[in-house]
């Protein structure tokens, strides 16, 4: 159940206030709010802007710049596959295609691309619900998704 808007606004304000003493706290605030609620809503940006004495446009500009920040609710599970060069060298493009086909139609899993997870000697790499895995195959991805679903 989504929580009532007023509760969420109060929580966003509290999370923002916790970071407000740091220099240039906006990214840290956005990380904290997204970690708590899964995504950032327009009302969240307004509350953050108010507490930090920024314009909503400033906050929106930062949210829209960075890939990590999302403005729509996440799916239950998330697979991120590395498409950068070191993983390409060991078949990342084929893996992406196969895994995408394998998970097509699964409404609870989002497949995303990522550029480098720092696991470049053990590629192809990816994350399943944030956990890093190396030497991936499409079968292994499906197996890991089945694990996080259960």
């Amino acid at each position: 159940m989504p929580e009532p808007a007023s509760d969420r606004a109060a929580a966003v304000r509290a999370l923002t206030a916790e970071q407000a003493h740091r220099r240039g706290p906006l990214l840290e605030v956005l990380h904290a709010v997204q970690a708590r609620f899964g995504h950032l809503e327009r009302a969240d940006l307004e509350a953050i802007a108010d507490v930090l004495n920024l314009s909503v446009a400033d906050v929106h500009g930062v949210v829209s710049f960075y890939h990590d920040f999302r403005t729509s609710p996440p799916t239950a599970h998330r697979v991120a596959l590395c498409r950068a060069e070191a993983c390409q060298a060991v078949g990342a493009e084929a893996l992406c295609a196969a895994a995408t086909a394998e998970l097509a139609g699964a409404a609870d899993v989002e497949i995303a691309e990522v550029f480098c997870l720092g696991n470049c000697a053990l590629g192809p790499s990816g994350t399943v619900d944030g956990r890093l895995h190396g030497r991936l195959t499409a079968q292994r991805v499906a197996q890991l998704v089945a694990q996080v679903r259960s």
Partner: protein
């Protein structure tokens, strides 16, 4: 029966990605019943052997390669007996013998990575027993200016990729008039094929903190920021714990080691923008803004974070500093080549049999790295190209592998050393596709501030598509190649930073060394993702 020996299992993210946590739990369940101890360390950097479990024995630390959670009897037997498998059982259970004698490690000069995989990353005393804190203690007996001059004398150059002389940068920051100076340490290691920053952050975080405290003393800075990419959650967690421990142990805070020195560190987490590895973009991001590149001048050393003089150094640079102070600048400068002094931490990645971390003096050839250390390709097929220095680095063809790896020799050959990443491709690689990817990546990750980068990369993708005949109007490949070259010149000369400025490097090297791949083709597989349509922002 005596207590079993200590067993060491890496907690490094790469080791965890292939099952190290499961191995550690399984081992702990068995060994703890007979008072054994499983210690989590960093990784030795022999990543193809992970999970690589070590056991302390009579003859030294013995390694067991590719241990799994249901096949580790050899580790338990060795821990209980305290004796390494020998004779005809020498390879028992994946035993690779005493690790320090393994050819992959024995041929390295580990200064920056000396403690990696050896120490408990969060134990400041263990760190001290293995040479840690000696550089800080030495620095605290010296005047700040003497510390700066020691760094100058060491010949240390910025390991982030640009290779700027570190000591000169320190002098500039120290000499700037200001009420406040800052450190900003770049751990936004976004280059594919690089993972040295990550491994050191996870495996030896006190080394970074020690380097930063030394710099704080030398430059009169009291606040340091470490900017870590969000793709490194393990490193962020480890650094956070290390900072707390260092404060409790008197290595950070208001009176460091009783010297009166004040210095503290704050972590800032990136948010998935490659461009934030560019120094001025990183500063914007630390300040809580869009990571758009700043025009230079002013240089960050004079006007960086919040307009104050700011030392921007890469993690590898910072981790080299304690060694310089502990061993003396001459000892450090004794390694390497004429103008590239010291050691470089190379990272072997991609299609390579023995991928991992290789720290050696500058001047090692690319062939030695790929063939001797790396053992050639993982697929067993011939090497066709090696990309050195990340997504903005050149593709080196297989017949040019004898190039020495130092800043000048690489630049003279038309290549770039960068952050030391070495990504190997076998003969199945399509170099036009790699060139297209370089442009595609730039289009996706450009901060958008300058036109040559933002628009040029988009046009680059389209031009390469026409050259290789994916687009309908590809009727004159030669003219299109000339156009691509022209575009590369515009991007190189007209971009604000290295993102747009160096994207042409992989593109041009691919065209120059692999022209056969840039001919029109009848049919061509479409790329997996939807190319650059709807590139973000």
């Amino acid at each position: 029966m005596s207590a079993p020996a200590r067993v060491l299992v890496p907690a490094d993210a790469a080791a965890r990605s292939v099952g190290a946590d499961e191995v550690a739990s399984a081992l702990a369940a068995v060994l703890e019943s007979d008072r054994g101890e499983v210690v989590r360390t960093g990784s030795r950097g022999m990543l193809w052997l992970e999970p690589l479990v070590e056991v302390e024995t009579d003859s030294g630390r013995v390694g067991f390669a590719n241990v799994t959670a249901d096949s580790f009897e050899a580790v338990v037997d060795t821990a209980r007996s305290g004796r390494a498998p020998a004779g005809e059982r020498a390879a028992y259970g994946g035993c690779v013998g005493v690790l320090d004698e393994h050819p992959f490690l024995a041929r390295q000069t580990r200064l920056t990575t000396a403690r990696l995989g050896i120490v408990d990353p969060l134990d400041p005393e263990d760190y001290g027993r293995h040479g840690g804190w000696a550089g800080l203690r030495a620095a605290l007996t010296m005047a700040p200016a003497e510390v700066v001059e020691a760094v100058v004398a060491s010949g240390l150059r910025g390991r982030g990729g640009a290779g700027f002389p570190t000591g000169i940068k320190w002098r500039t920051v120290a000499g700037a008039q200001a009420d406040q100076r800052f450190l900003a340490i770049n751990v936004d290691e976004g280059d594919s094929g690089t993972f040295a920053d990550r491994m050191l952050l996870e495996g030896d975080p006190f080394a970074l903190l020690e380097g930063m405290v030394i710099a704080g003393h030398a430059l009169g800075a009291t606040e340091g920021y470490v900017y870590v990419r969000s793709e490194y959650p393990d490193g962020i967690a480890m650094l956070d714990k290390a900072i707390r421990t260092a404060r409790q142990s008197g290595y950070l805070g208001d009176n460091i080691l009783g010297s009166g020195l004040r210095f503290d560190v704050d972590i800032r987490v990136g948010a998935g923008a490659y461009i934030c590895g560019e120094e001025t973009s990183m500063l914007e991001s630390i300040e809580g803004r869009r990571g758009e590149v700043r025009a230079k001048p002013p240089i960050p050393a004079l006007s960086g974070l919040w307009g104050r003089p700011t030392l921007v150094n890469n993690l590898l640079t910072m981790v080299a500093v304690p060694t310089v102070l502990a061993e003396g600048p001459e000892a450090y400068a004794a390694h390497g080549t004429a103008r590239s002094r010291g050691t470089q931490v190379f990272q072997l990645a991609g299609n390579i049999r023995q991928g991992g971390l290789v720290e050696v003096g500058f001047g090692v050839t690319l062939r030695e790295l790929v063939e001797d250390f790396g053992g050639g390709t993982l697929s067993g097929r011939p090497v066709r190209a090696v990309q050195v220095g990340g997504p903005l680095g050149a593709y080196v063809p297989a017949d040019r592998l004898d190039v020495p790896m130092d800043y000048e020799a690489m630049a003279d050959a038309g290549f770039m050393l960068g952050h030391g990443g070495v990504v190997v491709f076998d003969d199945t690689v399509d170099m036009a596709r790699q060139a297209r990817f370089a442009m595609e990546f730039c289009a996706k990750e450009s901060c958008g501030k300058c036109t040559p980068c933002r628009i040029g990369s988009q046009r680059g993708v389209e031009t390469i598509d026409r050259i290789i005949g994916r687009a309908a109007d590809g009727d004159d490949p030669a003219a299109e190649l000339a156009l691509l070259d022209d575009l590369c010149t515009t991007m190189t000369k007209g971009s604000l930073c290295a993102m747009g400025g160096l994207t042409p490097m992989p593109v041009r090297s691919a065209v120059q060394h692999f022209p056969e791949d840039f001919r029109p083709r009848a049919s061509r597989p479409a790329p997996v993702s939807g190319a650059t349509e709807g590139a973000h922002r």
